[in-house]
């Protein structure tokens, strides 16, 4: 806040109009509320929030690419890919740390394959993304429901340490999420590929006239999203200590919510990776808060859905309908 006072009013109004502002303010407000209501340590809450929030952020950063490409693109298969990967990783590693790297590659390969199927259905058969990815998700769900009874084991102590541990109070997961968000931010704003994604999201006809191969770019975004979901599943299995059928349940709304709350346009063309981090922390701490005040699972769902609706409503016409 002191920075705002020092600088000119131009900076102040830029901050006030910043798209990620609701998420940042929300995260701080919820953190303060948790600190007041709860009796745990203030930084302990932040630490656990950052760890859990990092998983949401990782799926959100993948989803960011898909949504930024605009034209109705969205990936609803995230939770299913994540869960399948958690099972596959648990089965492949089975407590053996030496198998972590091959398992990670296998899981990423599965993610890439599912992402490619999603993109193919959307691009070639022209299924609406929201229907196509959900249909693929159902097929993937069937696969892991059939496979799950035969899967034993866990993802090993190494992944477990990465997912739960930290260095001098800072969780490894938070470091991973911050580094990746920085990377994604660089890719989206500075790289050839990222600029193409954003151009496509702003106007597909214009992007195509400029020589951008919209099909290839869209294909790549779905692959990136599914790979990020599958690797998150690997890490999440390490955090939870094994795979379960509902391990990914909260990531369907979660991965989309953090993109929207983080100040990115659902219509595409505007992306904000650091905002995704802030929003992930916000919704994770919000769940902590609802846990603290002992509301039922139902009320939690209502609060989460309601906040998304409220934020969507405040985002307003011009911002969503970018031209």
């Amino acid at each position: 806040m002191s920075r705002v006072a020092e600088r000119s009013s131009g900076v102040a109004s830029r901050i006030a109009r910043h798209r990620a502002l609701p998420a940042v303010v929300g995260a701080i407000a919820v953190w303060v509320s948790v600190a007041i209501i709860g009796d745990g340590s203030v930084f302990g809450t932040l630490r656990s929030g950052a760890t859990v929030g990092a998983f949401v952020a990782l799926t959100g950063l993948g989803q960011l690419f898909v949504i930024a490409a605009g034209n109705g693109n969205i990936d609803l298969s995230v939770p299913y890919v994540l869960t399948l990967s958690a099972y596959v990783a648990s089965g492949l590693v089975n407590g053996n740390n030496a198998a972590v790297v091959p398992a990670a590659l296998a899981v990423a390969g599965i993610g890439a394959l599912i992402g490619a199927v999603n993109a193919t259905l959307i691009l070639v058969l022209e299924l609406p993304p929201i229907v196509g990815t959900l249909a693929v998700g159902f097929v993937v769900e069937t696969i892991y429901l059939e496979v799950s009874p035969h899967v034993q084991g866990n993802v090993g102590s190494f992944v477990g340490t990465v997912a739960t541990g930290g260095v001098s109070g800072v969780p490894y997961m938070a470091i991973i999420a911050i580094v990746l968000a920085g990377l994604v931010s660089l890719v989206l704003t500075r790289s050839w590929f990222g600029r193409q994604v954003l151009a496509l999201g702003q106007s597909r006809p214009a992007a195509e006239l400029a020589g951008i191969r919209s099909g290839l770019v869209t294909f790549a975004t779905y692959v990136i999203c599914a790979v990020s979901a599958s690797l998150t599943g690997f890490l999440l299995a390490g955090y939870v200590g094994g795979a379960s059928p509902d391990i990914g349940a909260s990531y369907q709304l979660g991965s989309i919510a953090v993109v929207v709350l983080g100040g990115c346009l659902i219509a595409g063309g505007v992306a904000n990776a650091p905002g995704v981090l802030a929003a992930s922390l916000f919704i994770t701490l919000l769940v902590t808060l609802t846990d603290l005040i002992h509301v039922s699972a139902g009320v939690q769902q209502i609060i989460e859905g309601g906040i998304i609706v409220l934020l969507l409503s405040t985002v307003g016409k011009e911002r969503v309908r970018v031209t």
Binding site: G72, L121, L125, A135, G137, F138, I302, G305, L312, V320
Partner: protein, 330 residues
Amino acid sequence: MRFLRRRDVAAVALALALFGVMASVQPGILTATGLDLTLLGMVPLAFAAVAQMIVMAGGDIDLSLGSAMGLVNAICATAFTKSVWVGVGELVAFVVGYVLMGAVIEFRRLPALIVTFAFSFIWLGFALVVLPTPGGVAPAWMTQLFSYSIPGIPEPILLLVVLAAASWLYLQRTRTGRLIRSLGNKRLAVQQFAAHPFSVRLRMYLAAGVVLVLGGFSLTAESSSGDPNSGQSYLLLSIAAVVIGGGDFAGGSSWPIGAVAGAVALGFVSSLDSFFQISANLLFALQGLLLIVALGLRRAEVLGQWLFVRRRGDREEGAVTQGVLPGEGT
């Protein structure tokens, strides 16, 4: 022969063909009781398909439909045991909530996909508040309502026919129905009818909400208890039924008879597991694949054109393959 080119004929043919297959495998379903049992399970899906069709005719997609059915089911199985008025009150509140959802979409001009998706969590949340775990009982009158039968005509058939006829009349023959279709087609057309898009979208979600209440009734009567998650499987199936029945994502047209026939066809597919020994898990995949195939076939024609045009190196392909995405509007 003109009717053969109608987009809903394929769905009716598919439903009849699947019925033929089922009847040849299991002649027992040809009796009145057999028909009753086979078709009763399809009634909730038919209601869901009609609700989805109304919303899709207006150019939206309702992703909250599954949770909404679950909420109505949960209300039916709990509130009505306390008092009829509590139940009616909660159902009215639900329909008002549905209209409110339409208001949010129209007022802020947001994509319906996203708003209904967020609302699906709100409906599920309320369902979990009303009924935290599966349980409750269906009110006796509700079960009776759906097991009433006129001698000679199995009730599910009667229900399906009445549903198809009523929704056809509503969308094709009333002013509101025309307005809904024109909303999906072209916003400007609504204004040329001297109506306000805002009120049309509210009426559209009102109609969908009312149909979902009836669908929830049939779901409760069929399962004779409540489960907050009971509606989830109807979301994809309802979209699939509409698409098989001739509807599309662009909005502007409606095929009520096709949607009901599509629901019956999908219902037959869903009951395949009891006829052939298929795992219930595989059924999910089967439904997902069926949706992909149904939508894929729709594209086959355009795809052929695309391949052909591409070979000639014609740049006009873009105009053919670039559909307007649902929910984006103009």
